[in-house]
């Protein structure tokens, strides 16, 4: 039977894990775009295109994840708990982390859609929140990965480790454009 009593529950967990992986890929592509010292056009363009459109693809999985978790009814999560943190009857702290992640994600998405209508510094400030949103998503996913499903937990852990490495690299690499402009200004002019 395709649609058993646990179908929604499995669908929710599967889409949750896929969202985690896709989100991590999107974040890494953004991190690489922002931090690369000497980008070459072709890969920078591909990274930018995937960053923008995969984030939309990720949303499909995330929305399915949220809807199935609530509709399933195996655990008691209200619709309001999707956006208001810490009010869920089931695991208020962990569902709450998911809710904070959703709120940040909405802010990030709205500012990115309106990027050409708002000041660049405002967009940038909100976009920095992606690091926090991603970390919250990793905590939410890792803590929910139950002991009988080590693979799901390992995937989330892997996302956390790989994303963490890229974030550390981003901090270490400082600002590529500023660095390059200093280099150009310091060279000998004939």
């Amino acid at each position: 039977m395709i649609f058993g009593e646990s179908t929604l529950w499995y669908l929710s967990r599967a889409t949750g894990v896929v969202s985690m992986v896709l989100l991590t890929v999107v974040v890494i592509l953004g991190v690489v775009t922002a931090g690369r010292r000497r980008p070459d056009g072709a890969s920078a363009t591909v990274a930018m295109g995937i960053h923008r459109w995969l984030s939309m693809g990720m949303l499909v999985f995330l929305i399915t994840h949220i809807i199935t978790a609530i509709v399933d009814g195996f655990v008691n999560i209200s619709w309001l708990a999707v956006v208001v943190p810490f009010i869920s009857e089931y695991e208020p702290l962990l569902v709450g982390f998911g809710a904070i992640g959703v709120d940040l994600l909405v802010a990030i998405l709205v500012t990115s859609f309106l990027r050409h209508r708002i000041a660049e510094r405002n967009w940038r400030f909100i976009h920095w929140a992606t690091y926090g949103m991603w970390l919250i998503a990793v905590i939410h996913g890792f803590s929910f990965g139950t002991a009988d499903q080590p693979v799901l937990r390992l995937i989330t852990l892997g996302c956390g480790v790989i994303g963490g490495l890229f974030a550390s690299w981003r901090v270490a690499t400082s600002f590529a454009d500023r660095h390059r402009r200093t280099e150009i200004a310091a060279q000998e002019w004939s």
């Binding site: 000497r38 056009g41 363009t45 930018m48 923008r52 050409h116 967009w123």
Partner: protein, 66 residues
């Protein structure tokens, strides 16, 4: 030639540009890169749709149409 519905002029904000080189890929007939990877506009008249996509994909929001 003035801007029209299907034809626009592309320009770069030099202060915002951080040299990712994406515009030279999205508008290869219009934009070349200098030796440091910053854009040189060769032909500023671009197709409106191609121009809009290039503006959208610029990571620094430094490209604009007028």
């Amino acid at each position: 030639m003035p801007s029209s519905a299907d034809h626009r002029r592309v320009a770069v904000d030099r202060i915002l540009c951080s040299g990712h080189g994406v515009c030279a890929q999205t508008l290869p007939a219009s934009i070349a890169l200098d030796e440091w990877g910053y854009p040189i506009i060769v032909e500023d008249h671009v197709d409106a749709d191609a121009g809009a996509l290039a503006v959208k994909l610029c990571p620094a929001r430094a490209l604009f149409l007028r």
